[in-house]
Symmetry: C2
C-alpha cells in the first residue's frame, strides 16, 4: 500500500492547482457556483429539477452533470429549464475532478450565467477528496438512507458548506432519529447551514432557493 500514497498525493495536488484555475475562470465571469454531492439516489437531480423552475426569470443557470454513464441527469436539467446542461461521463471514476470540470467549462460562455450548478457522481467517499473550484460544497442527505451516515462518512460531512436533508416527507415511514443524525453532523461540522426539505412535495424548498439567490446577489 505504501507506494500508493505519494501517487495519490501528487494527483490531489495537481487537482487542487487546476481547481484554483477553475475558480479564477468562474470568478472572472461573476458566476456563483456550487458542487452538489450525495449518495446515489439521495435526490441530487430531483433537487435541481425542483430548483430550476423556481429560479425562472430570476437567474440564468448552467448545470454540469457528472455520472459514470448516461446523460439522464443533463436531460432532466435541460427539461427543467437550465439554460445550458452539460453531461460529463467519468468513464468509471467515482467522482468528478477539476480536469473534468475544466472540460465542461470550456464548452460554456460563463458570462451568460449567474449560477453554475455542478452535480457530482453519486458517492459519499470519493468526491470529498477532489476539489473542483466551485464556491460552495453542498451535501444532500436523505431520510431513507438512515441517521448514521455522518458517523460512517465523516470526511464528506466534515467538508461541506451546507447540508440539504431531503425526503423529509418519508419521516413517518422509516426509522430515522433526527437528534442522533444532527448530533453526528454537529460534531463534524459545527453550525453548518442546514435545509430540511422535500424535493417531492416542495416543503422547505423556498429557504433553499432564497439562499441560492442571496449567494448569487452577494457575488
Amino acid at each position: 500500500m505504501t507506494i500508493r500514497v505519494p501517487i495519490v498525493e501528487n494527483i490531489l495536488n495537481a487537482n487542487d492547482h487546476l481547481a484554483e484555475q477553475n475558480r479564477g475562470r468562474i470568478d472572472s465571469a461573476g458566476v456563483f457556483s456550487i458542487n452538489i454531492m450525495a449518495s446515489p439516489g439521495a435526490g441530487k437531480t430531483s433537487l435541481i429539477e425542483q430548483t430550476l423552475p423556481r429560479l425562472k426569470d430570476k437567474l440564468r443557470v448552467a448545470v454540469v452533470d457528472g455520472d459514470i454513464a448516461t446523460s439522464i441527469d443533463a436531460d432532466r436539467a435541460a427539461n427543467a429549464g437550465a439554460q445550458a446542461a452539460i453531461q460529463v461521463n467519468t468513464g468509471g471514476d467515482c467522482h468528478l475532478d477539476a480536469v473534468m470540470l475544466r472540460g465542461a467549462l470550456e464548452q460554456l460562455d460563463l458570462t451568460q450565467f449567474d449560477l453554475l450548478i455542478v452535480e457530482n457522481v453519486g458517492n459519499l467517499v470519493c468526491p470529498a477528496s477532489f476539489k473542483l473550484g466551485t464556491h460552495k460544497s453542498i451535501l444532500i442527505a436523505s431520510i431513507p438512507e438512515g441517521d448514521d451516515k455522518p458517523y460512517k462518512y465523516p470526511g464528506m460531512y466534515r467538508g461541506v458548506d451546507a447540508l440539504v436533508i431531503n425526503k423529509i416527507d418519508l419521516l413517518p415511514y422509516v426509522p430515522f432519529k433526527m437528534d442522533y443524525f444532527k448530533h453526528g453532523v454537529e460534531v463534524l461540522n459545527p453550525g453548518v447551514l442546514t435545509f430540511p426539505l422535500s424535493a417531492k412535495t416542495g416543503e422547505g424548498m423556498d429557504a433553499w432557493v432564497d439562499w441560492l439567490i442571496g449567494q448569487v446577489k452577494a457575488m
Copy 2:
C-alpha cells in the same frame, strides 16, 4: 491521466491474485461466502440484522464489516447473533479489497463457521472493481434510491450474482417504476436472481434466507 492506467491495472491484478488466495482459504474450510454491496443506506446492515436471527441454530455465521470509520455495523451484527463480527476500517478507501479481507480472515478460525457474510463499504462504484474472493456478489438496491440506478451504475449491476430489492414497503410513497428498473437490470445482467423484500417488515425475507441456506448446503 495516462500514467494512472498501468498503476491501477497492477493494483487490480495484485488484488485478484490475493482474492484467489482468500477463496482457497474459504473453500478449504467449507464455508459459503457472500460479498454484499450497495449504496450508503440501502440497508446492508439492516438486511444482515434481519437475516441472522432467521439462521439461528441452523448456520454458524461470521460477518466482516467494511466501513470508512466506526464499528457501528459490526456491533449491530454481533447483537443480531453473528458468532463472530469483525470490523475493517478502510482508512478512507471507498471499498474493501482482498488484502483487507485477508486481514480479517486471519482473525477467524473459518472451520467454525458455515457462512461468511462480508459487508462492503457503501458505494455503487468502487467495490465493483475489487474482487475479494467470496463465492457470490450480492447487490442491494433500495426503492427510495430511484428506478434509474441500473442505468447510472452499470458496472455494479452487471457484475453481481444476485440482486436484493430492499424497502419494498416504501413503494406507495416514492416514485419508482418497477418495469423501468427491471428492464435496466435485465439488459445488464440477464436472468439475475432477484429478491424483492423489506428488511423492515420482513416481507420477502424467507425467499432470501432459504436461498442462503440452500447455497450453504450445496457447498
